[in-house]
Each structure stands twice: as structure tokens, then as C-alpha cells.
Amino acid sequence: MEQSPDPVISLSSITKTFPGVKALSEVQLDLYPGQVTALVGENGAGKSTIVKILTGIYQPNGGAILVDGQEIQFPTAHHASDAGITAIHQETVLFDELSVAENIFIGHTPRGRFGLLDTAEMNRQAQSLLDGIGAQIDPTVRLRDLGIANKHLVAIARALSIDARVVIMDEPTAALSHKEIAELYELVEKLKAQGKAILFISHKFDEIFRIADRYTVFRDGQFVADGLISEVGEADLVQMMVGRSVEQIFPERKPTVGNEVLKIEDYAHPTEFEDIGFSLKRGEILGFYGLVGAGRSEFMQALFGITRPSSGTCRIDGEEKTIRSPADAIANGIVYVPEDRGKQGAVIGLPIFQNVTLPSLGKTSRNGFIRMAKEYGLAREYTSRLDLRAASLDQDVGTLSGGNQQKVVIAKWLATQPKVIILDEPTKGIDIGSKAAVHEFMSELAAQGLAVIMVSSEIPEVLGMSDRVIVMREGRMVAELEGEDLTPETLVRNAAGIEKA
């Protein structure tokens, strides 16, 4: 690894406070030309805050940003992009209704006569940018008509259209398939060769070691360490991240499998999935593995009554049931803890106790009239079981920390006394410490006789937690694995559709 003389951009002693929270405290970050720097840290370490400061969305309360050694400020996103800093964000921040070329050039479209936007020139430049990254996309089509991977390429082309010196990639592989990830790596190499400085943010260690030249570690809003990737190991990085040596340990389980509680036969949907059938027993944890977009969540939503399958039967405790709505599902003992807990989980604005009793209002009321004492009773029972930390039960759930909000959501579902609980990506985007708590809790649920369905894209989690795993690909079940057959290799093979070597 050649030593680069000077960083392109250097942040020193950056502090950012929000009312009541210190998000960043005197952190530093240096990015070098032609090198990839991985920014590593748990959730809440301050990674996204630093990205927002770099791109001019937030202004720091203290510290300095140096570009080529000159101190500079980014009062708006425009200033940051003028300084050659560009970001490819986690969420697609593009415009569905505009054309590909318009998306690439919004904010800095080439101008023609009278200062008007020059559409022809814009399309020409967009074409050459797209060609440059090997994307075969017509710059005049609407973004809406592209697939997710192509949208990502447009985002990259957009980043490159601002003659960028610094490219920030915020979890760029989160929504991509294996093949697309490989293409992304190639692109990163190309950018490095062009001498651009790259900030790479990822939760996946294999990626970091595969692609990064340097690392910087943040913890709880503070700078921990930085250096060359070639000089550290995976364990060192984890230790720096969490401040202690942690191995991902899954709880010991002795599954005591009971009677069959759920039996699904021939579930199908016109465009999303078909031929889904399996059986689930009490005390069992059934994993659903597959690549993102394999149809797992779609099937779960049909099972929970949010969408309707075109055919299929669902038996609960041997009885055939038709589930037309979430209300039906809950009444039949099936609950669904969705992936997007912010949007689909807690009802911010309602107090804790009302959140807990929301799906169980039938139990805490008489003839539709609410009985407060019963409500508080039910809420107390389940929140204390989960060791919730709150000032009072009539506090707005929005004032709780993320972990405690999640406890409220789980308490809400347990209060319905379900038979089957579906957990969709239960540990996505949460830090290692909280992950262990969720896993512990899952095994407790199973031990109490609940049947658990866990949708997960993380192989260690699937292997560590599941008694049995169903692998889905392109909307179909491609394998049902247990015991000896359950290995990382079989999971990946089946999910990706690779023939046995």
C-alpha cells in the first residue's frame, strides 16, 4: 500500500449536538485520494451524522473541515457538492417521476441559451457517464421504470456527475444481490484508480476487509482509532467498535417441539410467490432465508392477511381458517413483528399502555367501552416481564429509546397471547449488544411453547437460531434444511441458485 501524502478532506474535532443529545464529540476523519476508508461503528456511533455534516445537511457545532488543508464550511448541500463531495445514500434519494438524465443532473444541469437548461446536452453527458460505469440505461426513460439495481447505478452516475473528489457510500450493498455487489466492487476499484477518495460505510465485515484500505472507528459519538486495514484483524475491529471483546454467541437451546400449530398448503399469489407449504410446531423456530426480494416478506404479509393470496389453505391447530385481514390473523393467534418498526411498529403519539393494549382492546373492554384499570393491568404485566425502562406507563412511547420502544412493540404482541409469532428481520440495523438480547428473547418465546417464524438475511443468525430453515428464491421454496444439511454453504447455494460444485 502506497502512502498517500495528504488527505483530500480532513475533519478535526467535529462536535454536533442536538437538543439533549451529543451526537458527535470531537471526532476526526481523514480521507485520502485513491483510497477507500471504511467507517466502522455500531448503530448510534455517529456514522450517519458525520455523513450529513460532510454533505452539508447538518452544520457542526464545533471543529473544522479542511479541504486540501484549507478550512471550509458547508452551510448547504450545494456548498458540499461544489467542494466535490458526493454521497450515494442508503435510501434511494432519487426522483421517480424525473428522467434518468434529470436525476443525474438535478441541481447542476448544463445551461444553454438564456440560462435555460440544455436538455440535449444533459442527455448526452448522462449517456457518457452511464457508459463510463458500464450501465446500459437509456438516459431519457423515467426512473420509475427502472429496477432497484439500475436505480443504484443512476445514483452512482449522479455522484460521478459532480466532478467528485470524495465519494461517500452509505451501506451501498444493503439492497443489492451478489452479482450486483460484485459489480459495485469493480466500480469502486475504478473510482480508486481515478484518484477519488472513498468513504465506505458498512455493517458487513467481509465487505470491509475485501474493499477498504483504511478504517476509522467511532463509538458512542467519539473517535476511537484509525489506521490501515492491512494492520488489523476482524476481532480487533469488533473490539474497537464495542469497547470490549465480543463474540457473537447464540443462546443454547434445547427445543422441545410440541404439536403442529400451523400448516400452510399451496399458498400462491399472482406475481409474488407460489407453491408455499410447510408445517410449524409449538416450541419451534423456523428460519426463512433468501436474498433480499426473494418473496419472504411478501409471503409473510399474505399469511398475516395484509395481502390476499390467490390460493392456498391455512390450518391453525388443525382447523382450516381464512385470514382476510390482520385482525383475523391476530384473532387466530398469528402476530407479525414487521421489519420497519418505526413505521409499522410503535404508534408514536400514544402512551405506552395504549400501545401495548392496541391489538388486545377486546380483552380490556366491555361491549366496546374501555376499562382503564384492565388496560393498565395488562400493560403492566407485559412491560414488566420485558424489563421495560420508563418513567411512567402513560408516557408517550416516542420519548423512549429505540430499544425500549422495541420492548413496547414486543409486549404489545405478547399481550395478544399468540400461538405463532413472525419476526421479520428482527435484528436488522441494531447493534451487537441488542442483537444478543433479541436472540435470547426469541429462544425464551420458543421455550414457552410459541411457534416462531424468523425471516432473516444474516447467515450466522439463521444458523444460530433456527431449528429448521426454508430457503426461498424468486418467490418459490427451493429447500427445507435441518440438522446436518444446514450449513452456510447449502444456504447460499440454494438462495443464489448455484448448482452443486
Binding site: F304, I306, S325, P326, A327, A329, I330, A331, Y336, P338, K343, Q344, G345, A346, V347, I348, G349, L350, F353, Q354, L358, P359, L361, G362, S365, G368, F369, I370, Y376, R380, T383, S384, D387, L388, R389, A390, A391, S392, L393, D394, Q395, K412
Partner: protein, 330 residues
């Protein structure tokens, strides 16, 4: 996990403390102030019959405002309520021409309100259309039908017994309308604050997706709310038609604005999710009292509408300005 169970109290502040700090308390202060100013500025104000007359300024609008409050808490809005009044009133007037009696007239008024509400609700919940546009559309459509039927004519000749709803008194100065107002206020208070249905309304307004995932039949609840709002517009149509004794297609023009203002003044968040019925009740009194006070001072109605418009914006703007001011200082 600690063995000693951590105790979380049910409530931290007692209900009285909380009530004193609430928007409703502030409104009550305003109401009392307006009352005092009015009684000082005009010798005619503190007269039982005058006060009783003054209640007609708000009772009919408030009846709709109760249902509208629930609708707005759930995150929807109905701008067609005044037009529903026009259509319901026209239907009642037409019924009179066919010789309908008082009972039939009232039932027709309520039924038309209910159907209009169901029409709005169906478009919003079944077809998934935004309620603002749908009800801007039906606002034209419903009143438009009245214009088609009536043109520049008017319906009259309502039976004498029909006059009771808008002109009758239950006892001394206590009018039928004010009694109905209190009964409906109590009913809506129970519905919103004491039933599962009311709880669902709050949940939907704060987070419709989470509400759906919690097993609440979101679309059904919204549909019922639109029907309820239509029904209350029908009730208001019965009272107003009875009070005026005639129907013109321009009846109750602009009421949607006053109803929404009343709801917002009552502390209902226009974006949904929070608010209470007592707030709307007090807001109704405040608006009625102010209108009456202006009337005593011979201020024309259209100038009063400036006040209503300012009130609508001011009620939302002032707390925001205040918090901006606090943030800048601290």
C-alpha cells in the same frame, strides 16, 4: 435482568395537574375573558334571551365539528359538510312538496347526510383517493345538485311542527338545539375517549400502518367516520332548515371553514393524532361568543370572517412562533 421488579408508576402527573396545563384550560380562560369583555362592552349581552339566541351561532356548526374532530384526528378531512347541508336541506324541501310529514322530513334529511358521507367515505377508503380532493369535488357536486334542483328558487312551506328543531324551547330559554348540542357533545366524548373505536381513531391518526398491523380495520373505521360526519351534517341541516324555515341552494355557504376552524381552535391537530372533545366544546363557545359580541357591536358578518381566518391561522401559528422564540433564546 434484576430480580427486584422495577416499578413503573401508571401516571407521573396527576390528572388535575395535567388538565391545568392543557390547551383546553387555556381555551377556557379565553372563553371567560371573552365573556367578561362582552358583558362589559354591551349592556345587552347579559340577558338570558340574548344569550340563548347567541347559542344558535354555534350549535349547528359544533354538531358537525364533533364528528369532524374525529375525522381530522384519524388523518382525514371533509370539506363537503356545508354542501351536504345544502343537499340534505334541498331533499327535505322537495319532500315537503310531495306532502311529507315532519318525521319523514327529518328522516330524509338524516338519510341524505348519511348517504353523502358514505359516498365520500367510499371514494376515500375503497378507491384510496385523498380526502382533500374528494371532498373538494363533492363540495361542488352536492351543492351543484341543489342548484340543479332549485336554481334561483327556494323551498318553503315546512310543517309547523318541523319548526321545533330550530326554533323550539325545551324549558324557558333552553332551546332544543342547545340540549341536542350537549347530548351530542357527551355522546362524542364517550365515543372518542371511552371506547375501543375512539382508541382506534387515535391510533390510525398517529400511525396508520402500525394500526393496520395491530389488527385495526383502518378503512372500516375511516368509512364509519365519514358516514358519521355526513350524518351530523344531516342533523345540522334539519336544525338549520327548521330555524330558517326555507331552503336555498346557497344555504350554509362557507360553513366548512368555520367548522374546521372550530376543530382546530379546539386543539385538534390538523395533521391528525391528537385532540379532545372538551376542547371542541369550549372552542364552539368561544367562537359563538365572539360572533355574538361583534354582532352587538354591529360589525358586519364578512368582517367577522377576517377574524375567523386569522383565528384559524393564528391558533396554529402562535404556538409554533412561541416555540421558535424559546428555541432562539435558549
Amino acid at each position: 435482568m434484576s430480580l427486584a421488579e422495577r416499578h413503573i408508576p401508571d401516571r407521573l402527573t396527576n390528572p388535575l395537574q395535567r388538565a391545568l396545563k392543557s390547551w383546553e384550560a387555556l381555551l377556557l380562560v379565553v372563553a371567560v375573558t371573552v365573556f367578561i369583555i362582552n358583558s362589559l362592552s354591551s349592556p345587552y349581552f347579559l340577558d338570558a334571551w340574548n344569550l340563548s339566541d347567541a347559542t344558535f351561532n354555534f350549535t349547528e356548526k359544533a354538531m358537525i365539528a364533533f364528528a369532524m374532530a374525529l375525522l381530522i384526528i384519524s388523518g382525514e378531512i371533509d370539506l363537503s359538510v356545508a354542501s351536504i347541508i345544502a343537499l340534505a336541506s334541498t331533499a327535505m324541501g322537495a319532500a315537503v312538496q310531495f306532502g311529507a310529514g315532519t318525521t319523514e322530513i327529518v328522516l330524509i334529511g338524516l338519510l341524505v347526510g348519511l348517504i353523502c358521507g358514505a359516498f365520500n367515505g367510499g371514494l376515500v377508503t375503497v378507491l384510496g383517493l385523498p380526502s382533500i380532493v374528494v371532498t373538494i369535488g363533492t363540495m361542488s357536486l352536492f351543492r351543484g345538485i341543489s342548484y340543479i334542483v332549485l336554481g334561483d328558487q327556494a323551498y318553503g312551506g315546512y310543517p309547523r311542527s318541523f319548526a321545533f328543531f330550530g326554533q323550539g324551547y325545551v324549558w324557558w330559554v333552553i332551546s332544543f338545539e342547545i340540549v341536542l348540542f350537549f347530548v351530542l357533545a357527551a355522546a362524542f366524548w364517550v365515543l372518542l375517549h371511552k371506547t375501543n373505536f375512539g382508541r382506534s381513531v387515535y391510533a390510525i391518526g398517529n400511525n396508520p400502518t402500525a394500526a393496520l398491523f395491530s389488527g385495526i380495520r383502518v378503512q372500516r373505521v375511516k368509512f364509519i367516520l365519514f358516514m358519521l360526519t355526513g350524518l351530523m351534517a344531516g342533523v345540522a341541516a334539519v336544525c338549520l332548515t327548521s330555524r330558517l324555515g326555507s331552503t336555498r341552494p346557497s344555504i350554509a355557504v362557507g360553513w366548512e371553514l368555520e367548522v374546521v376552524t372550530m376543530v382546530v381552535l379546539g386543539g385538534i391537530n390538523i395533521l391528525g393524532g391528537s385532540g379532545s372533545i372538551p376542547g371542541v366544546v369550549i372552542a364552539a363557545f368561544v367562537m359563538g361568543m365572539v360572533t355574538f359580541g361583534f354582532g352587538l357591536l354591529n360589525v358586519p358578518g364578512i368582517v367577522m370572517s377576517i377574524f375567523i381566518g386569522l383565528l384559524l391561522i393564528g391558533v396554529i401559528a402562535l404556538p409554533r412562533l412561541w416555540s421558535m422564540f424559546i428555541a432562539r433564546r435558549g
